[in-house]
Amino acid sequence: MSFLSVKNLTLRLRDNRAPLLRDVSLEVSAGEVHGLVGESGAGKSMIGKAVLGILPRAVEIAGGEIWLDGVDLLALPPAARRKRVGGLAALIPQDPLTALNPSRRIGPQITDRLVDILGWKRAEAEARALDLLGEVQINDPARVMRQYPHELSGGMRQRILIASAFAAEPKLIVADEPTTALDVTVQKQILRLIAGMQARHGTALLFVTHDLGVVSKVCQSLSVLYAGRILEQSTVRDFFAAPSHPYSAALLGATPKYTDPEGSLTPVPEAIIAGLRAEIAAYDEAHHG
């Protein structure tokens, strides 16, 4: 039994019922790192948000199931669902600049959740936060705990968010493009940090990214999305050896090569895109008349 199992999840806009995810299914076992890749707007972030219950107000769930540790989250009432997700899952958000509350000190932002929601003792929670800040290589964690977010750099803040995500020992973490907002040199460190933390804590990770290079380094399996449809699911090893869907192959081909810096960038061929569009249109036709 997979730890996280999304079955036929369909999301659409509340207003005009435009579909955002079309019958998406995926499985993540305990301790596995699963990559969600696709272009902007493919719906990869939406999967993570649906799992965590933080979909934007404009989006509604039109069908499907989300099983987390043997319970269908969508069948739970909101309060129970929040509690269940809060105990089992956490988020590493995309933009470290807006992901910490600017008017509160770092310490309470990490410990509040442990104390208020999981019922830890304040002292225990603080010790835990200090440990974790040390683990994400922050010097002088005691001082950082007393600082405000604006006093810290983007990289520091992302480290804090990572520490905070691991604080309650969740079984699943959704990392929503955790390195996109950072500059390239910091990206590498953060990536290594997340991979290391994941391995040490044995947490399952749903890793949302548009960067296949990142997937090859961090993930064990992946799903390729296009326009809310999953085109291909496989292990990272198989995928990079021989992608099965022509779009995946084209995506791989479009990745700039480190070994060939002069080589021109190859876009995904028009024919493949046209084929995908037709496929999606046919799907919509079949499902919504």
């Binding site: 929040r82 933009d95 002088d140 309650a168």
Partner: protein
Amino acid sequence: MADLTDGRGAVKRRIGTRLWLAGGWLTLLLLAAVFAPLVAPQDPLAQDLFLTRLPPFWEKGAEAGYWLGTDSLGRDVLSRIIYGARLALVVALVAGSITCIIGSALGLMAGFLRGWVDLVISRLIDIWMAFPPVLFSILLIAVIGPGLHSIILAIVIIDWTRFARVIRAEAMAQGAMDYVASAQVAGRGRIGTMLREILPNVLPTIVVLLTLEMGIAVIVEAILSFVNLSISTDDPTWGGMIAEGRASVYQAWWVLVFPLITLFLTVLAFSQLGEGLKDRFDPVLR
């Protein structure tokens, strides 16, 4: 590694001249109002028909003890300004605070909870703002009768939309931030998120609006006294003084000008206080 904080934490802001001047004037006014019986040189209600329209102290014909002159009934202008400050400040503080609490609470709920709550509150704001405010307040007082309570009630009823509108927009912007999503993933409920995460971030704006509102309350009170709809006509009010001074401006300009200057400085001081406090309060600017 410690250098990664690049000294942002070490920056301390000085209390600006603005804050000093605004705070200074308001403190002075507050002290004068509280200790009015001690500091006012004359009885503000005492009429003396032998001492009518005395000019301020630097002009010829001034009397000692009547620093800013007297009005056409021989009442001391300075003493009346000082006593008038009592009403002005009570209205500013009480009406400003109540308006702030009600307006901010509604704005916060509309902006963060959205849905039907927002729908109801937003429509209410739209409808409310279609009323011309001064006319509305005059009508209101005419219906419920003049008096301190009526003035405060009128200001609250008219001005809550100022807070509601701005705080709603701020709460909406804050609600879209990732830290709100994180709080919700962590299991915090809607109301908890609103109070613990959103409120502290809109507080600087609330403070600025509050001080602005206090200035506006002073003006509204002056307008109502000007049209004689404030408290009982015996007690000195700035608006009432301005109304009386207008009648005799060619014979005794000081009766009009001094309350006007006081009113102007007070409203200005409130708004500047807000700006100054914002700089101090906002952790991002701090």
